[in-house]
Homo-oligomer: 226 residues x 2
DNA sequence: GCCATGCTTCGATATGGATCGAAGTATGAA
DNA sequence: TTCATACTTCGATCCATATCGAAGCATGGC
């Protein structure tokens, strides 16, 4: 009586704590080596290797060999979005988080979601872009308006160039901490790149947090307000 | 190094085949008894009972006792949307479906997603509503415009009444078969109700398929074209 | 009261799979 | 060549849990 795709297979893949930790670590967007992932998951290399094989067979991650390392990354942006959606579910059906450390607060404000910005600042940016009609919902997805294009240009992003590349330009992604949408797609990625390149913020080395400097935050606000 | 919510716990819940089948069955939106769910999952009542307890503890389903039956339903519309998202993932990372029987085709065309319409006809309706500016993406969600309100009224839906109720009026939901959005929320529910009540279509007794009559399909088209 | 039905709890089983130690295969460095 | 590092494969262990039989509670019909 199974209607539709085999949901159990994929959920089971994500359902193991070690694998879930690996996937969560890969949400940072960085490609990680097998050993790094083993550490993230808190298991030995042997078991990590086994898990990675399964994740690969399940098409959730893809591997690239480089020298004597094997780098792993999420297979697809879609995977990242599904994981964020799952986090939303877990967040709100799970036990109340006992301690929300300072690290959590930072994650809530700004973090990496695969390759784009997530968290409070990301949803504010998204709302702003919707409010000013920079983004419009069109048939089958999100579209960037002319005004939005020049908004992006004001950050030094050439939208024309982006559109040429593979993958959608704009896409929604559910934000687990805000339970709202934020911007994904190649534009989302380009924005995060700019934010880092311009030195407004930097990525925390051992979490998904994006750390804005006071100055960077001000510049972000000015960009938005313009 | 676990950033964010405990994703493994929830994925593990969904990851068991028996439980996944139960959840899939509940996607029909109907509340089902423990015995019915046991049959859907292909397990005995005892094991079903155990699974149902776990799903309940995990806040994925909720139970209502009625006489000597216990009816189970998905706890939340959010659960349904997450399940559809998972189906999308499973659909496209999974092995290619070997046989896509006639039943699959029917599901692809029109089916129930918890309480609203999904499938080809649903995404067409959604695209249409976006294209005519009946729906607009606003801050933090989907909004119905004035024109959209009268569009709904033309099907006999009183939007004012709906808005009073709990839960969002309009919401997007990812369609696994179409990989596009369709309309969820109380308006989505009301539309499906009208489609059934007007006799345009009826629900298949033992699947999630929505079976349109030739006449019903024509009326649906006429409504959209109007 | 009695029995049937729907469902849960308990106990026993067994099986899948996560885990790691040890050994094996690549790749790079010296 | 020799050694070290990165990773995989193999084999054994061990634990969680899915499963069902049997018994235990409710509820409703008679």
């Amino acid at each position: 009586m199974k209607d539709g795709p085999d949901i159990a297979r994929i959920a089971n893949l994500i359902g193991d704590p070690a694998r879930a930790n690996m996937l969560t670590a890969l949400m940072s967007g960085k490609a990680l080596t097998a050993t790094e992932l083993a550490n993230e998951a808190g298991v030995t290399q042997q078991t990590a290797s086994s898990h990675l094989r399964k994740l690969g067979e399940g098409q959730l991650i893809c591997a690239r060999k480089q020298g004597r390392h094997r780098y792993f990354a999420l297979a697809d942006e879609r995977i990242a979005r599904s994981l964020e959606a799952l986090m939303d579910l877990a967040q709100n059906t799970g036990h109340i988080r006992t301690r929300t450390g300072p690290k959590d607060a930072r994650l809530r404000e700004a973090r990496v979601c695969y390759n784009h910005l997530a968290g409070q600042m990301a949803t504010r940016l998204y709302d702003h872009m919707i409010g000013r009609d920079y983004l419009k919902l069109s048939v089958g997805g999100l579209a960037l308006t002319e005004a939005g294009e020049s908004f992006a240009r004001s950050l030094g992003i050439d939208v024309g160039e982006l559109s040429g590349k593979r993958g959608l330009l704009c896409r929604e992604c559910l934000d687990w901490s805000e339970r709202r949408s934020h911007l994904a797609g190649s534009l989302g990625r380009a924005i995060l790149t700019q934010i880092i390149d311009r030195g407004w913020a930097e990525r925390d080395t051992n979490s998904r947090a994006i750390l804005f400097s006071a100055r960077g935050r001000a510049q972000f606000e000015r960009w938005i307000a313009a």
